[in-house]
Symmetry: C2
Subunit: 163 residues, 2 copies
């Protein structure tokens, strides 16, 4: 679950996106969204956004953001979130999030509602204690990040092998 | 982390895919892969595959599958996995996995190495005790599914609101 902020030239908006994909081993992301989402017009027009990473303590805000519309709601005000200015893009960072990734849209594949974007700047709140993300199952339940397993040694061999 | 099996007309193969995306609220998936992956040719030619969902107890097999190549390795034999026949596609199911989703490729977006596919059959091993999936962070570490949070009531309101 990530939050995606946009700025349409007049105002900021936020949407909740359940499904993101990190592509390849490069700073390229894709999300799926479409015209049913009020932010989509701003995303298409400005061709930039911020992917903000919320943590489990923010779950009710994240679900709330996904269940109201920017057409009639100032989501920053309603959910008591703080908009911060980014380094590169005009879409706002969300101060309360664990990380904020400023992105430029590099392609919109309308047929599949896929927006492909590239990170141009990123910052992380390293002082933040709660770092667990949440992931939508799709049925209204969410899975919280659990323990971490290290397989860096095993993965290192990947450099010398094809897949 | 999912395993993707293919059948090229002669033999079965498996690849490890870190990044999948469930698109929209439909049984459509996308993965990113490309020519560097031996399975890619079979995927393009047969236009079908099986997405097999492994759990945390299978992590070393999953990483192992991702660090050797089908060009010189029978991965089912090497990793002691059992190939089962699917209902619709020729790519094999993996018996040891939690779930197996038979998929037809509906689009290949070469520019971004995105393969879009649709589920045509699925089965789940409901008797399996270990159900926790693992997710690649990208640096050789993996996050195991933790606790589950229910927000079904809150999400129900989504049906009556735009996003």
């Amino acid at each position: 679950m990530v939050l995606v902020t946009t700025h349409d030239g007049h105002k900021d908006n936020i949407m909740t996106i359940s499904w993101t994909i990190v592509m390849d081993f490069t700073p390229v992301f894709a999300i799926t969204t479409g015209e049913w989402n009020h932010s989509f017009a701003a995303l298409c027009k400005s061709r930039e956004c911020v992917i903000a990473i919320p943590t489990v303590d923010m779950l009710d805000k994240v679900v709330g953001i996904g269940t109201c519309s920017g057409t009639d709601t100032d989501k920053f005000a309603k959910f008591k979130l703080t908009a911060l200015q980014g380094k590169v893009v005009k879409s706002p960072l969300i101060k309360e999030c664990l990380a904020n990734i400023e992105c430029k849209v590099i392609d919109i594949i309308e047929k599949h509602n896929i927006v492909v974007m590239q990170a141009v700047a990123a910052c992380m709140d390293t002082a933040r204690k709660e770092k667990r993300m949440v992931h939508a199952v799709g049925d209204g339940t969410f899975i919280v990040d659990g323990s971490k397993i290290d397989r860096r040694k095993m993965m290192a061999s990947k450099l010398s092998a094809g897949v």
